[in-house]
C-alpha cells in the first residue's frame, strides 16, 4: 500500500516493510540554510522544469528564462535562512522567481536597452551561458523557438503582473489567495489581474 501526499510537496511512502519518507520542500529549505548541498540539489531537481517554464512564459525568451530561473535558485541558496516557514515553500520560491521575472521585464524596456553601456552579465564575473552546441541540434532549437513564439504571441499584450497571475493559476494551479500571497497584493487585486489577463488571452485567441 502506498500513500502519496501532494504531488510537489512531500511524498510519504508507507510500504509493507520499512517506511521511506521524502523530505518536504520546507525541510529541504531548512537544510539548504545550513548549506546542505544535497538538499539544494534535490530542491533544484524538483523545481527546475517548472521554474524554467514559468520564467519562459513570463519573459518570453529561452535564454532569459534560463538565466532568470537559475538566478532564482541562486537567491534561494543565498537566502534560505530567511525562509521562516510561515508560508509554503512554493509560495516563497514563486515570489522570488516572479519578482525576478518582473524585474527582468522592467530592465529590458526598450529605452533601457538603448542606454545600456555594457553587455549584460559582463560585470558579474560569471561564466557565459554554454554555447548552443551543448544542446540538441537545430531541429530541436526550431521546435523550441516555435513553441516559445506561440506562447509569446498569446501573452504579448499582458502586463508582467497579469502574466504572472495567469501563469501561476494555469501552470502552477494556484488559487487567487495564493497568487495574492506571491504577488504581495490583495486577493481582489489578484482576481483582477487574472480576469484582465484572461480577457487579453481570449482576444489574442480570437485574433489568431
Amino acid at each position: 500500500m502506498s500513500r502519496i501526499r501532494g504531488p510537489n510537496s512531500w511524498a510519504e511512502f508507507v510500504m509493507d516493510g520499512p517506511v521511506a519518507v521524502e523530505p518536504s520542500d520546507e525541510e529541504l529549505c531548512r537544510r539548504v540554510a545550513e548549506r546542505d548541498a544535497q538538499a539544494f540539489d534535490l530542491l533544484v531537481e524538483r523545481h527546475q522544469a517548472r521554474a524554467y517554464r514559468l520564467a519562459c512564459s513570463i519573459v518570453g525568451s529561452e535564454a532569459d528564462a534560463r538565466d532568470v530561473s537559475q538566478e532564482a535558485f541562486i537567491r534561494l541558496y543565498q537566502s534560505a535562512d530567511r525562509f521562516d516557514g510561515r508560508s509554503r515553500f512554493s509560495t516563497w520560491f514563486h515570489r522570488i522567481l516572479v519578482n525576478l521575472c518582473i524585474d527582468h521585464q522592467r530592465r529590458n524596456r526598450w529605452w533601457r536597452r538603448l542606454v545600456q553601456l555594457s553587455a549584460p552579465g559582463s560585470e558579474s564575473g560569471e561564466p557565459a551561458i554554454d554555447p548552443p552546441s551543448a544542446e540538441p541540434g537545430p531541429e530541436q532549437d526550431a521546435i523550441r523557438n516555435q513553441s516559445i513564439g506561440k506562447l509569446r504571441g498569446l501573452l504579448a499584450n499582458l502586463s508582467p503582473k497579469q502574466r504572472a497571475a495567469v501563469l501561476l493559476q494555469v501552470q502552477e494551479g494556484l488559487s487567487s489567495r495564493e497568487i495574492a500571497a506571491v504577488l504581495e497584493c490583495s486577493e481582489n487585486t489578484a482576481r483582477v489581474h487574472v480576469h484582465r489577463g484572461i480577457t487579453e488571452l481570449r482576444k489574442a485567441l480570437k485574433r489568431e
Binding site: V44, Q48, R53, S118, H195
Partner: protein, 186 residues
Amino acid sequence: MTTRHPETALVPYVRGELGSEEGARVARHLEGCASCREAADSAAAAMRELARRIEAVPIPDPAIYRAQLYRRLNARAEPGARGNAETRWWQPRIVGLSLGAFGVAAAALMLIFVMHQGARVVSPPPMDQLATQEDTMQEAAMTGADVGLLRDYPMVERLDLLENYDVIAHLDEVSPAPPANDENRS
C-alpha cells in the same frame, strides 16, 4: 436577475475555488446571464489553450541546466565575485546612466527656464498706449484713499511726504500759499 456581472469571480468559479455562498451567487447569475456564461466558457477554453502551449515548451536538459547553475553559484561564492554584490554607484554602467540622466534633467530644466523667461517677456505696448498707462499709474498714486493708508503706516507717519499727500488730496480746498511758506517746506 442581478445586473452587476461577477467578472472577476468567473475564473475562480470555473476553477471551483469559490466558497459556497459566493459560488452559489455566481451560479445564480450565470443561469440568467448568457454573456457571462459565454465569458466563463471562453475563459476556460483560453486557460486550456494556454496550458497546452506551456506544456509544448521543451525544457532544457536537466544536467546541463544544473551544471550551469552550479558554475554560476560557485562563481558567486568565489572571493571578489561581484555577481550578487549590491550595485555600487561607481560601477561604470551606473555612472554612465547617472550622467545621462543628469544631462537630460539639466537640459529639461534649461528648457523650462528659457520657456518661462520667454513667457515673462511682455511685448511693449504701442506708443499711443504708453502715455495712457503712465497717466493711470500717476492717478492711482495720487488718490486721496492712499493718504489714509499711509497715515496708518507708522514708518511713514511723520514723513513730510504725508503732508504733501494731504495737500494733494485736498487740492481743491487749498488756497494759494505765500511763496515764503513753500520755501520753508522744502
